[in-house]
């Protein structure tokens, strides 16, 4: 079914540019390819998992505009081939969009990715796109979402309306992959609350406005939950696995940023209702930037955020009452060298997760990125317990064209 859906959309992509007027401008290709290496210093929990993960990825981008720039088409496929985990060898259509722009409106139809929110440690309000969980564990890689989106801009702010006719299941590492739960998630046996399954028609609306120093967004989503709950089960080979279950949900979200010189004050809050119960969660904090530290060109940003979920330890996320402290270094040099180190501390259980990310341009078209995640002192009750031996270093070299 999924394959048929993609074949349909891919064939549509071939039709769309020619459907435009004849005076269409020239299309352009860009994109990047990358080689990624992950090293896991600790031996895995299961002997089927490895210590070294090598993968390559490719993401070309096609863009064409016509009608004096008022109409455009974008196509962004993505593919990764992975040496360790067959689930991580996967492909996706990140974008396949036809966009039409008027005086104060935009109509965007097709597969798209978008982003809502302001905080750094987690992204509560950002609900439209499903997480491509197998790509990275920070939840920032997303799958393309089919939609019709009308955006209207008035003095009172911008109003966005979304119809979401197809649901994307979250991706998870397979049996041989690291950074997975024990037992692993069997994505072939997903279950839904809705009888329409992945074809339930979801909708969402959002208002946002910038008022001086304030940027405010208010959103509502109604449809299939992007985060599944799990039930224990067996796969066809008789192994015990986790089966994802996607309930229907209603979620209202608020995102707010107040920008006062070097201070950025941030808040994201959600209230969700699914399967007869309601819960709330929030992330709030600040980022303060020291400009030109020690007479250099570098900026150092200090980030502190508090993460709260009123379900407490029952929350399916590891962030129920945690504090995130981060340090961001931007060298502002010719190679755009950046570095971010952060730690999330569980206030009640005193365990922590440390993460670091860095990147710099190499020559004009290459970029070198490093990443590391370290799980320290994770107790058996925590959601991250199954990752306790999966601390890793990652190096990626990407070529842009």
């Amino acid at each position: 079914m999924k394959t048929a859906f993609f074949i349909l959309l891919t064939s549509l992509s071939l039709l769309l540019p020619t459907a435009g007027p004849l005076q269409a401008g020239e299309g352009e290709w860009s994109g990047h390819m990358a080689t990624q290496l992950r090293l896991f210093p600790e031996s895995p929990l299961s002997s089927q998992q490895g210590d070294l993960q090598l993968s390559v990825s490719f993401q070309p981008e096609y863009y064409q505009s016509w009608d004096e720039g008022n109409q455009s088409f974008a196509f962004v496929p993505f593919i990764r081939l992975d040496s360790m985990d067959s689930e991580r060898s996967h492909w996706d259509i990140r974008e396949l969009t036809w966009m039409m722009v008027g005086d104060n409106w935009e109509l965007r139809t097709g597969i798209r990715k978008l982003y809502w929110g302001v905080t750094e440690s987690q992204h509560l309000v950002d609900i439209i796109n499903q997480t491509d969980g197998i790509e990275s564990i920070d939840g920032e890689k997303k799958l393309g979402q089919p939609m019709i989106n009308l955006s209207l801009t008035y003095d009172i702010g911008t109003l966005d309306f979304f119809l979401l006719p197809y649901f994307r299941e979250r991706t998870y590492p397979g049996q041989k992959g690291r950074l997975r739960s024990t037992p692993w998630v069997d994505t072939d046996q997903a279950r839904y609350e809705s009888s329409a399954k992945a074809y339930h028609l979801d909708w969402a609306a959002r208002w946002f406005k910038s008022l001086g120093d304030w940027d405010v967004g208010l959103s509502h989503f109604s449809g299939t939950s992007r985060s599944p709950t799990f039930v224990a089960g067996n796969n066809s080979s008789g192994n015990s696995v986790l089966l994802p279950y996607y309930p229907l949900m209603e979620q209202t979200g608020l995102d707010l940023q107040v920008t006062k010189e070097a201070w950025l004050w941030k808040l994201e809050a959600i209230s969700s209702r699914s399967q007869g119960s309601r819960y709330s969660a929030m992330t709030g904090g600040f980022e303060y930037t020291f400009v030109g530290v020690m007479n250099s060109d570098s900026d150092v940003g200090l980030i502190a955020e508090y993460l709260f979920d009123d379900r407490g330890e029952r929350a399916p996320t590891p962030m129920e009452s945690d504090i995130m402290i981060g340090l961001r270094l931007a060298m502002n040099d010719v190679n755009s060298t950046d570095f971010l180190i952060g730690t999330i501390v569980d206030i009640n259980q005193h365990h922590l997760m440390v993460s670091m990310e860095g990147s710099r341009r190499v020559m004009s078209n290459w970029k070198l990125s490093v990443e590391g995640r370290f799980f320290v002192n994770t107790p058996a009750e925590d959601t991250l317990y199954s990752l306790r031996r999966d601390s890793f270093f990652q190096v990626e070299l990407a070529r842009y064209f």
Binding site: S72, V101, N104, Y115, V118, T153, S336, R361, F401
Partner: protein
């Protein structure tokens, strides 16, 4: 023409040297800055392309391609949209700025990989723009109220008669104590600028060349060169394809247009 009329007409001319003498160097500096500003009023909107060449002390070069859209705003600083085409890894990144005379600018950045619009702090005025020798404050909208002025002297520059005006930033967090700016008397164009750092030591000098006039009024430079005397590094900006009054309005300068800029 009657004799009386002649007297009345010549009277103001006779008074001119007197008023000029009564004008303090500060007043004269401000008057020159107002004239520069007034001569650039009414362009409405413009677009341009820029190639930035960064050169380090060893002569190694790197390049940035940026497109600019600007909207003139009555009674406030301009709105601008900058779109980055190169280097390739930041292609599609765009920045939206609502500049203000003395209060901090409003600034948003679009990061295409995450599709994220970030409201960013405009506190960093003195930091380098894209790793170049230009600071953010060197490229921002130049409102009269941004500086305190003082006329220093007249002297020739680029083969023209020029005013030399000192300007001291009136806004907070500048990287400079003062700047000296050479402005030609013929068309009130900036021909040269010298920047002094926070310790009042010579930091950078900037030259402007290849001025062209658009719509019979607005002068724009083709080449700007910034040399950092303390590091030996330099940056050249090459401006191309200037277009005026292309019909941009405030709908071209909001978060939606920032996201679709490419």
């Amino acid at each position: 023409m009657t004799r009386l009329k002649q007297i009345i007409l010549t009277l103001p001319l006779l008074l001119l040297p007197l008023t000029a003498m009564a004008q303090t160097p500060e007043e004269k500096g401000l008057a020159i800055a107002r004239e520069v500003d007034q001569r650039d009023n009414g362009f409405q909107d413009s677009t341009a392309k820029m190639t930035m060449t960064l050169k380090n002390r060893a002569g190694q070069e790197s390049f940035r391609y940026i497109r600019f859209k600007t909207l003139e705003v009555e009674g406030d600083g301009d709105k601008s949209l900058s779109i980055f085409d190169k280097p390739r890894d930041i292609k599609g990144t765009a920045m939206l700025t609502f500049s203000h005379a003395t209060k901090p600018d409003d600034q948003w950045m679009y990061l295409p990989a995450l599709k994220r619009v970030k409201r960013i702090s405009s506190r960093n005025k003195s930091g380098p723009f894209m790793g170049s020798e230009f600071a953010f404050e060197d490229l921002g909208s130049q409102e009269v109220e941004k500086y305190h002025y003082k006329w220093l002297r007249d002297e020739p520059c680029n083969g023209l008669d020029c005013f030399v005006v000192e300007r001291r930033p009136a806004y907070e967090h500048s990287g400079y104590t003062r700047q000296e700016v050479w402005i030609d008397k013929e068309a009130y164009r900036v021909q040269k600028a010298v920047y002094y750092d926070r310790k009042n030591s010579l930091l950078k000098s900037q030259t402007f060349s290849g001025y062209k006039q658009y719509l019979n009024k607005f002068w724009r430079t083709t080449t700007m060169e910034m040399v950092n005397h303390q590091t030996g590094k330099s940056t050249q900006l090459l401006w191309e394809d200037y277009q005026f009054r292309v019909g941009l309005d405030s709908n071209d300068f909001n978060r939606n247009s920032l996201k679709r800029a490419r």
